[in-house]
Symmetry: C2
Subunit: 240 residues, 2 copies
């Protein structure tokens, strides 16, 4: 529950107003005072190691989570055991939105590396939405952008060839790195080739081939999981 009668945080080490993700997180656009209320509601949970689950598909819905550091994949498994990665998430991203309607998680979230999270209970989320219109609008905006991301994903899967898909994927990662203050030209992929393949709906071998193909064309440099984009322009041209 939000302890709105005091602005003094019970967790002095944790303060949303000093968080470097402030602007891209739900706290964006909130006043100093509103942020203090948010700080009261947010809980830091134990960090996860690579491969550990933040929550499982089917778990009852209790809280939303925000990635604080590291990265995760969001996986959906259907009746016949097929797995589909429906998204990768990075610091500042909000997790668990799909569970609101059905009151249980429809995806599993798995850490791709050592990762930490903020936890915000559904009750507190609603109280904050009611109290702080900036929070309300900011969280809806994040929700909305999530929808756009997945729409772009569907566009890529439906309309594009494999080289285009990979280019679009790399540009999306690049964009997210940039938003978070990292280099848009050089980064380490936190997911495996198989994860990328599954996400894009293609075979892992094809991902490999297209990586080397893009390298041959001089658009990127790949070494293991390190990617350097030689020409963003050319990559955009390929993405279409």
């Amino acid at each position: 529950m939000v302890a709105s009668h005091t602005l003094v945080s019970l967790h002095p080490t944790l303060d949303c107003s000093h968080c470097r993700l402030h602007s891209i997180c739900v706290a964006g656009n909130m006043t100093e005072e509103e942020t203090a209320v948010l700080t009261q509601a947010v809980v830091h949970i134990n960090p996860l190691k690579q491969g550990e689950f933040l929550f499982h598909q089917g778990d009852p819905f209790e809280s939303l989570y925000i990635v604080r550091s590291g990265s995760v994949k969001c996986v959906m498994t259907d009746a016949d055991g097929m797995e589909q990665i429906v998204g990768f998430n990075f610091p500042g991203d909000l997790l668990g939105l799909d569970a609101i309607g059905e009151r249980c998680h429809t995806t599993s979230v798995i850490a791709l590396q050592h990762s930490s999270f903020c936890k915000l209970s559904w009750d507190d989320f609603n109280i904050l939405s009611q109290k702080c219109s900036h929070f309300h609008i900011q969280s809806l905006s994040i929700f909305s952008r999530e929808l756009i991301h997945i729409h772009e994903m569907v566009m890529a899967m439906g309309q594009k060839g494999v080289e285009q898909k990979l280019a679009i994927f790399l540009l999306a990662i690049s964009q997210r790195m940039k938003e978070r203050g990292f280099s848009e030209r050089e980064f380490i992929l936190s997911m495996s080739r198989s994860d990328i393949a599954n996400f894009l709906g293609i075979a892992p071998e094809t991902v490999s081939r297209e990586f080397t193909q893009l390298q041959k064309e001089g658009v990127i440099q790949v070494d293991r999981r390190r990617v350097q984009i030689e020409s963003l322009e050319n990559l955009r041209a390929i993405a279409g």
Copy 2:
């Protein structure tokens, strides 16, 4: 703006509490009194004929819309002119959610048949969210289910063969018909073969072939746009 000081509707012919979509629309779970406030805010706009636009991609964001009758497709066009249908929507569905974050519509919505809509301005939406916690939660739930739908879509596009895709598509339509009180076994598709093909990321000819294939297998009966599901069980088995 919501005229909350009076519960008497300015549009006597329009009353959310008597709407047959009450339960699946944003009005679901709202109290009688809250519904009255919603009624004040909602505006009925001119109906659209087949092929007409409710809004265009790029239009500034002002309002959300709810399908009252008929059906629409939601289309995204990218830089190189490729079009992707990212969803079909039916009575009770909320439209325009993708525009909240970017303050402009990222998709175009086109009527598949003569269709009518309710309009709810973004300002009123926020006021209602603030005032009525049931409305707030209900709209988030609808938002959340939209995410699940598109995730299921991505699953189908990434993991499944064409026969499965079509089976999944038909089951999704069947489910939506059922939710709206129509037969889940027999319905008229409001979209063309090309629309279905585009949505599923396959060729129109392939849609044709798979329809006849499913018919040969005795799972469905197709006549033009009328579909009869002979065996929901078998169709589910094919969908996987």
